[in-house]
Amino acid sequence: MMSKLESKEDKMLEVQFVGDDDVLNHILDREGGAKIKKERAQLLVNTKKIIKKPEYDLEEDDQEVLKDQNYVEVLGRHVQESLKNGSATDGGNKVYSFQNRKHPEKMAKLASELAKTPRKSVSSNLKSDPEITIDIPQCSKGHSASDKVQLKNNDKSEFLSTAPRGLRKRLIVPRFHSDSESEYSASNSEDDEGVAQECEENTNEVILSEQIQAQNRVVSAPVCKETPSKKMRRDKTSDLVEEYFEAHSSSKVLTSDRTLQKLKRAKLDQQTLHNLLSKVSPSFSAELKQLNQQYEQLFHKWMLQLHLGFNIVLYGLGSKRDLLERFRTTMLQDCIHVVINGFFPGISVKSILNSITEEVLNHMGTFRSVLDQLDWIINKFKEESSLELFLLIHNLDSQMLRGDKSQQIIGQLSSLRNIYLIASIDHLNAPLMWDHAKQSLYNWLWYETTTYSHYTEETSYENSLLVKQSGSLPLSSLTHVLRSLTPNARGIFRLLIKYQLDNQDNPYYIGLSFQDFYQQCREAFLVNSDLTLRAQLTEFRDHKLIRTKKGTDGVEYLLIPVDNGTLTDFLEKEEEEF
């Protein structure tokens, strides 16, 4: 590299050259794509390190480097401390309050320090060499393509050239980071790094880049202006608070790009996933067992408290279903009880009340409304004081039960003296379901039961992201339905499939409009009037093979709600048969 050679001769000169080189590199990087860019960036850092060594005689620089190192160290330590803070909490109430309170102050301090130091250096630089500021816009003009992103990056590299050595070093490192940041951290996807190490680095990076971005902007502001000195004076008087917010306004959240799509292994089908999972032996089984035994010792206490008018709610990580199931089998064998799977997708308050009235109270009548039913149940239970009922609700906070009305009704049930409710919640914000009135209805006692067990049963109604939606079921049903239809109807459907497959790359495809479809069918001699077509479509609709949607222009669009892979399979099969 040119800059490397020349840097030994003259400091200022070297700075300029590296700056230009950077600009060049940068533009090239942008065009070259992420991979090369990253390597380049790393290379840049390396070269700089090499540059540093021969220059040890320059004391100022040395000091600045040292300062930088200190600064980076401080940052790192700070991060580690905060990490420790986060992990070392046992009671829990430290988790949020303390850390938050400490953090902003430190950050503000840091931000103010950062905001002050580079500005001075820049100003001195400007005084000593005013030409540069004039120079640079030109060179950036020369290099910058029309692309806005590039322009932005050029700006950054301009500052590199204006800044003295130490600052430059500071700025190069961040540039590398900010580049990766804009791409949502390409460095994240490096596989060769250890997990823990990477984690630490990431957090380091976040803070670093945050800080340095702030620094960048503070530097950039005076440089870009025509009258930098004025601006600076104003800045110096500006508040620490402002600086703090400035430093934070640019903070981007760094998210991981390790998505499921990036996995080398393709999606599995349900069966293989199940098999694979069953092979994994659970870790810490002994400890988990111990944990569970601890909770089981509470069973008698729960019964006691239930009888004394409290209701019990269980929270904590892990499925609480097994625990409640054990509670049921050990304690409730001789009592009437109702188990309610809140996670069941078809559950509703109506069905809960129905099972109470019909199966528990043997009432065969019907009710006009849920509230009537509730009133009836409440009266019944008030009349017969010997009647006792235990309600076990798994996932009281499930999608179907979390509504205000449902909660009100369940709360009213649970407030009855001879109905005992024991429930579990899993959602992070589940307690928000209950206002004061409901909470007093429920009269909860909270029990933390962290079990770490899998939510197997609870999630059995959901689709896993790891499972490939193979669509084998729709395929067979497709063939079954189509086999029972007339050849004309099959033709109609095939037309629609083909059209949909032709358009599969179009992300805005909303379906085939009815008129077009009719036209095509006519041309293929499949129907003779749009009435017959509609009759055929009704057949499909009844079997949920097509879906119609009104477009924005009021035209009906037809869509087959089956994924394209299945459709191609289907077409192939069809062609084999004929």
């Binding site: 070392a88 004394l308 409730l332 109702v338 559950i347 099972s355 909470q439 933390e448």
Partner: protein, 627 residues
């Protein structure tokens, strides 16, 4: 039978009738929880007894506190209705006839307690004013139709209560009718006339002395009603007021301004609003604490942490007395459940009797109590041996210790109240305005070590005589009201102080005469220079004779007397042997069960599994890395 299925979410389990026991007694759950539990049955019974007493006490308190409010409400209702009754042709009355009498009941934000208040209010009204009391909630009345329907159906129900339940079938059919204000008023006419006819025959006069009792409509949560519904209803019913004597009661949680904010002037002018303020919930809490905890009536006590948790939940979360009582119940239950020696947590004679029947195990438990061990260590060596080996001796000693504890409490609360009298009106309230704050400070640490106490004494030293006298009077009353003879000496001292202060009066008068004499001397005509000079001289004189007046001496005495009281009696409960028997101190469990934080539990579970799994961290990290 499995509890998972793809087609069902509810599973009902009904045991066979033969197998079903006639409900397991609750005590079984109480003792089965622990493997070896001592006297669990007795403990449970004691728990139930104390809880029942506490509960009835709180209910009584509630009633007492509400009595004032209800009395004034009833008075208002009767007064406003009598205007309708007279039906005079007076012009003012005519105007008034157009206005619906309305009571705005400001109840405060502790919404959970309102239900209880309204329930008792309904009861009281039904007993004293009118059988027709209807209470509606906003969630039942999304529109006018539902509003009227609910109103009508509840009115009919009231009616059924008064009369016989002969026409239930009619009731059902009636429910489907679309109600209007017209139909309601005709119904009202028919009912009142009917009762008029029936009344003399059946000899079942309603408590109200009027022929046509008013219809009282309580809107429990006025703020959450839809403005439109409320407006329409008020306008319509004001039209029908002459035939349908309606009285409204608004339950307001925030502030009375809300009435005007919700209703435009045209509507609110149809209301004749009178404001009623219920007792603030903080005062309610103070009374509850005063009657339940700061008394020797109930042996059960809370430690400082527990009390803090409960009051914090009250002050920072809900202002709900009911929840506070619930917390109290839970702590009572936990105490009896977890502390085997809580069997002695009952009134003194009973506890003494129970001590005699203590098992060997329980004696061991006593010996294991930290406070008891501290006590033993202080004793002479022979006594130590006797206490640790001889059961009989131990029991006797325990009896006397318990008695001491009882006496300690009696004195403690008296002195606490006394001190509260002195500190509650100091400027800036260094020791708190409420007695519970003072109690908390006293429980937390030795009060004489606290800065607040020092500053309070400092302030006391600066008080004027009148204030001190008033405080002393109150104190004296406190001591007199207690029947205990323990602190008779103190009461006497206070009386003495009072007498001394009063006698100061006479002396002061003499002194005053002196000063007036001197003043009369100084009242000669003089020029400015001389006046200044004489003033300066007086100042010098005063400085030279920096001698305390008699009052100051007495005040100093009083303050040191109070200080000595505090030193002697306001000892920390932890210093008392056997305090564990009466004090519940597991604040942590209480907090977990009442004021849980699921979010933090999740966070900890994910961040720090060690907390739950109790394995060494190195092992853990190794495990995670290897996976």
């Amino acid at each position: 039978m499995a509890t998972s299925s793809v087609s069902k979410g509810c599973f009902v389990f009904k045991p066979d009738f033969k197998k079903r026991k006639i409900s397991v007694p609750i005590e079984d759950y109480f003792n089965k929880g622990k493997n070896e539990s001592e006297d669990s049955k007795l403990r449970f019974e004691t728990y139930q007894l104390i809880w029942q007493q506490m509960k009835s006490e709180t209910e009584r308190l509630q009633e007492e506190l509400n009595k004032n409010l209800f009395d004034s409400l009833i008075e208002f209702l009767q007064k406003s209705h009598s205007g309708f009754q007279k039906n005079s042709r007076d012009w003012g009355c005519q105007i008034k006839l157009r206005e619906i009498p309305t009571a705005a009941l400001v109840l405060g934000v502790n919404v959970t307690d309102h239900d209880l208040t309204f329930r008792s209010l309904t009861e009281v009204l039904q007993n004293n004013v009118t059988p027709y009391v209807v209470s509606l909630q906003a969630k039942d009345c999304p529109d006018m139709k539902h509003f009227l329907q609910k109103l009508a159906s509840q009115l009919m129900d009231c009616n059924v209560d008064v009369q016989s339940k002969e026409k239930e079938s009619v009731q059902v059919t009636q429910k489907k009718i679309h109600y209007s204000m017209d139909s309601l008023s005709t119904w009202y006419m028919s009912v009142t006339q009917k009762t008029d006819v029936k009344m003399p025959r059946k000899k079942r006069t309603p408590p109200s002395q009027w022929q046509s009792p008013p219809v009282v409509l309580i809107l429990k949560d006025m703020e959450s009603f839809t403005t439109k519904v409320l407006q329409d209803f008020i306008i319509i019913s004001s039209q029908h007021l002459h035939e349908f004597p309606l009285i409204l009661i608004f339950g307001i949680a925030t502030s009375p301004v809300v009435v005007h904010r919700m209703l435009p002037h045209a509507v609110s002018s149809l209301l004749c609003i009178e404001l009623f303020q219920s007792l603030s919930c903080k005062e309610h809490l103070t009374t509850v604490l005063d009657k339940l905890l700061l008394t020797t009536q109930f042996p059960f006590k809370l430690s400082e942490k527990v009390l803090q948790v409960l009051t914090n939940i009250f002050l920072y979360h809900d202002f709900s007395i009911q929840n506070f009582i619930k917390g109290l119940q839970l702590s009572l239950l936990e105490h009896f459940y977890s502390q085997p020696l809580s069997v002695l947590c009952c009134n003194l004679p009973e506890a003494k009797r129970r001590i005699n029947f203590l098992s060997d195990n329980q004696c061991e438990n006593i010996r294991r109590l930290p406070s008891f061990r501290r006590y033993v260590e202080k004793q002479a060596s022979e006594k130590q041996v006797a206490l640790l080996t001889n059961e009989r001796f131990l029991k006797e000693e325990t009896q006397s210790l318990l008695e001491n504890l009882h006496v300690y409490h009696t004195n403690y609360f008296l002195v606490l109240r006394c001190l509260h009298q002195f500190t509650s009106s100091l400027p800036k309230y260094p020791l708190g305005r409420q007695i519970r704050e003072l109690y908390c400070t006293c429980l937390e640490k030795n009060i004489r070590d606290s800065e607040e106490y020092a500053s309070a004494l400092q302030l006391l030293r600066m008080l004027a005589k009148d204030e001190l006298m008033a405080m002393l009077q109150k104190c004296f009353k406190v001591f007199k009201s207690s029947s205990e003879k323990q602190l008779g000496n103190t009461a006497k001292r206070i009386e003495e102080f009072l007498a001394q202060f009063q006698s100061l009066d006479a002396e002061a008068k003499e002194e005053e005469e002196d000063t007036s004499e001197s003043q009369s001397k100084g009242l000669q005509k003089t020029d400015l220079y001389h006046l200044q000079k004489s003033l300066l001289e007086m100042k010098e004189l005063r400085r030279a004779s920096k001698r305390q007046t008699k009052f100051e001496v007495l005040r100093e005495q009083l303050v040191s007397f109070i200080d000595s009281l505090a030193r002697e009696y306001l000892l920390l409960p932890e210093t008392q042997p056997l305090h564990e028997v009466l004090y519940f101190s597991a604040a942590h469990t209480l907090r977990q069960h009442l004021n849980a934080a699921p979010r933090i539990a999740l966070h900890t579970a994910l961040n720090n599994p060690y907390y739950y799994l109790k394995v060494s961290t190195s092992h853990l990290s190794f495990h995670f890395i290897s996976q």
